[in-house]
Amino acid sequence: MFKKRDVAIISAATAKCGERWESGIKDLVWEAGVKALDDAGISGKDVEYMVVGNMSGGMFVGQEHIGALVADFLGLNPIPSLRVEAACASGGIAFSQGYMAVASGLYDIVAVGGVEKMTDVDTDQATSVLSGAMDFEWEAYFGATFPGLYALMATRYLHDFNVRREILAKVAVKNHYHGSLNPLAHFRNRITEEEALTAPMVAYPLRKYDCSPISDGAAAAILAPLEIAKKYTDTPILVEACVPATDTLSLLKRRDICTVDATVNAARKAFQLSGRERRDIDVMEVHDCFTIAELLAIEDMGFCKKGEAGKLYEEGQTYADGSLPVNTDGGLKAAGHPVGATGVKQISELVKQLRGQAEKGRQVSGAEVGLAHNVGGSGATAVVTILSRRS
Amino acid sequence: MKVGIVGYGAYVPKWRIGAEAIAEIWGQDADQIKSGLGVKEKSVPSLDEDTATIAVEAARNAIRRAKGIKLGEIGAIYVGSESHPYAVKPTAVTVAEAVGLTPHVTAADTEFACKAGTAGIQACLGLVRGGYMKYGMAIGADTSQSAPGDALEYTAAAGGAAYIIGAKEILAEVEGTHSYTQDVPDFWRREGSAFPRHAGRFTGEPAYFEHVLKCSESLMEELGTKAEDYDYAVFHMPNGKFPLKAASILGFDVKKVLPGLVVQRIGNTYSGSSMLGLAAVLDQAKEGDRIFMTSYGSGAGSDSFSFVVTDLLRERAELAPPVEYYIQRGSRVPYSVYAKYKKLYRSG
C-alpha cells in the first residue's frame, strides 16, 4: 500500500512586484529563484523537478514554453520542468503539483515557481488577456469584464445580506496598510476609506481600490520531504494539506454566485486532511483579486457564516494584530497580482510569517499555522493550502 | 389567387433628438424649421442598433401577427435599406438567421433609396402569386445618414417595418400595384461616402411629386378607383409637408393621411418611411377599409399599392406593439449623445 510522504517547504522568496520595466520573465524568475535556492543553501544541481505557474506568457510577451525557459535561465537543465495554467490560480496549482511530486516519493528536491510579466502590453490588451479566465464565448463576448463578474457577485451579496458598501472599502484600506509595511509590495501607499469610496468607478459597485492591479512579479518555493528538511533549514514549513478544486467556468452556471463552491470544497477537504480547526489558523493569504472576493472567501472557507465576514472588518480583526489576520503582505490589491505568480507569492508570505521574518507592524505574533487560498477566474479553480511551522 | 399582407411589424428605437437641439448647434431657428418641415423630433438609434437589429425586431413582430405561420414556409426575405451594415454581405441573411427562416429561403438586400422596402413587397407578391412559395417577407429598415449641418439632419431617422406576404389568412389584400421609375439625380450617395447629397429644391416637383403623383394616378386608373374610395392614404414622408401636398393634389382628404403621418413625431426613416406609415394605419384600420399607399425612392421611383382590409386584421393587430407605442416611448438625448450614437465623431 503506497503511503505518501510528508512534504516541507525549505525556502521561499518573492521578487519585488510592480511595473518592472527593466525586467522580463527571465529576469523576474532569476530574482525570485536564485534567492530561494540561496536561502535553502542549495545549488541548481540539487533540484530534481520544477513546476511553474504562468497564465499567459504567450499573450503578454509572446513567450510560451515557460517551464523550459525557467529551467534554462536558472541553470537547472536537464531536469523536467513544466508550466501549469489555471488562470489566476496557476501559482497555487503549480504548488499543488510540486507538492504531489515530493509526496509521491518520485522526487526529493522540487522547485515551484510562478511568474507573470503583464506590463509589456498596454492596459487594454492586458485586460483582454485576463478575460481569457472567464467563459470567453458566453461572458467576455457579451461585454463582461473581469471586474464586471466580481461586481455581479458584489451587487447580489450587498443586496441579499444587507451589507454596507463601506465594508468593501475597509478590505482595501487594510490591505494597503499591510502593503505599506512590505518592501516587496507593488503599492506602498496607505489609503483612506473615503478615498476608496470615491475613487473612479470600474464596474459598479467596484471602484478603483476594489480591484487588484496589473503587476509584474515572480515567486519561488523549494520543497523537500520533511524527513530530510532539517538538512536545509532550521524551520521547515510542513505542508499539512494542499487541495485544488473546480467549479463551473462561467458565473452564469454557478449554483450560487455569492458562494465559490470550489473554495468550499477545497477548504473542507484541506481541513479534513490536516485535522485542523478554523480557530487553529493564525494567518491567512486570501485571494483578494477584488475586495468582495476576500469577504466571500473567508465565509466560504468556514470562518464565519455567509454574509457575516463584514463584522470582522468592522472590528479590525483582519489586521496583523487582530484575531484573524488576512493578507499581511498587502494581498493581491497592494502587494500586487502578477497572475501566475500570485499563488506562490502567497506561500512565500506564509513561510515568512511562520518563521517570524516579516516586517514589524505586519508580522503576526507567534504565528504557527497558516492558510493560503488562491482562485482562478471567477471561481472556476480554487486551491487551499494549510502550512505549519516545524522547529 | 388573392394575395396580401398576412403579418406586419414595426420597430422604432427609443431615442429622440428634438429640432431645437440640432438648431442650437448650427445657430438656426428651431421654430421656423419645425413649421417649415413639419417635423418636431426624430428617432435616433442606440450605439448598438443598426439596420439589421431594427429589421429583426420588426420581423419578429410581423411573425407574431402572422399567428401560426410555419417559419419554414417563408421562402423569401428581402431587406431594403440605405444603411445596410455591410456593403457586401446582405442584412437579409442576418435577419433570416435571427428569426429562423434559414436555410431553405431566398434572400437578398435591395437598394432604391427610400423605396427599397416596397420593391421587396412587390418581389414577394410575384413569388407567392406565381406559386413558387407560400410566404415571403419584405422589410424596409434604416438608420438614415445625413450630413451634420445639412437640412436632412432634422429629419433623417431610424426605424423599420416588416411585411409577410401570402395567400392564406390575409389581413389586408393587395388589389393591385403599379410602379413609376425614371433616372433622376435628385438625391444620391456614392459608394464609400458617409453622407448623401441632394439637389435642394430639385428634389420636389421633378422628383418626389412627379413620381408619387404619376404612379398614384396610374394605379387608380388601372383599378378604376378614385381618392374618395379610400379610407386611408399613406405617402412616403421625407418631411411633414410633401405627403400632405401630394394627398391634396390627388384628392385625398387630409383626415385620411394623418393616421399614417408618423414623420411629424419620429422623422423620415428612409426605407422604413411609407412602410411604417402603412403599419400605423393597419394598427387601426377596420374590416372593409381601403388603404392607398405610394412610396418614393430618390433616383427615382415610386411603388403604389391598393389594399383592402379583411376581417382578420383587428384580432391579429393586437398581437404585437403598435407604431404608436414605439412613438410614445421616445426619450430625448442631447446633440452630443446623438453624435456619439450616429458615430459622427472621428477618432484617430
Binding site: F142, A144, M153 | S46
Partner: protein, 143 residues
C-alpha cells in the same frame, strides 16, 4: 478578443441570435448554454434544443465603466445576470434603460442588438441583450 476569427463568430451564432439552449426531455430541466448531456440524467437523458422565450428577471447587475477597446465606445453599459423564466441564467447587457434604474428582480425581455465590431472593416457580431419588459403596448388596443 481575436480579430479575424470568423469561424469562432459563426459557431455560436444561432444560439446568440435566438437565445437557444437545451432541454432534457427525461427530467424536464433546461440548460444554457446548450449541452450534449444532461448533467442530471447523464446518459439516460434525452437532450433536445430549446429556444427560450426571452423573458426573465435580473438576478444581479453591474455597470461597466472601464472596458477593453472593442467595448469602450459603449461605456458605461449595464451587464446583468438574467434568470430566464425557464430557469437557467444568462449573462448579457441591459439596454433601453437608465443604468441607475436597474434593480434585482426587474423583469426583462430579450432583444436583438449589436455586440461589437472586430474593427472598422471587420465582422459585426450580433446577439441577445435584454431590455425592461414593457407590456404597456397592449393598452393601445383596448379602445
Amino acid at each position: 478578443m481575436s480579430t479575424s476569427a470568423a469561424p469562432a463568430h459563426w459557431r455560436r451564432m444561432r444560439e446568440r441570435y435566438r437565445l437557444t439552449g437545451s432541454k432534457c426531455e427525461t427530467c424536464g430541466r433546461t440548460y444554457f448554454p446548450s449541452t450534449r448531456v444532461c448533467p442530471n440524467c447523464r446518459r439516460k437523458g434525452k437532450v433536445v434544443p430549446i429556444e427560450f422565450s426571452g423573458r426573465g428577471k435580473v438576478y444581479s447587475y453591474t455597470v461597466i465603466h472601464s472596458a477593453p477597446k472593442m467595448m469602450s465606445q459603449f461605456t458605461p453599459y449595464a451587464v446583468a445576470l438574467v434568470q430566464l423564466d425557464e430557469g437557467p441564467k444568462v449573462l448579457s447587457q441591459v439596454v433601453d434603460c437608465d443604468p441607475d434604474k436597474l434593480e434585482i428582480g426587474m423583469e426583462v425581455e430579450a432583444c436583438f442588438r449589436k455586440l461589437f465590431e472586430q474593427d472598422e472593416g471587420g465582422i459585426i457580431s450580433y446577439g441577445f441583450k435584454f431590455r425592461p419588459l414593457d407590456d404597456s403596448w397592449r393598452k393601445y388596443y383596448r379602445k
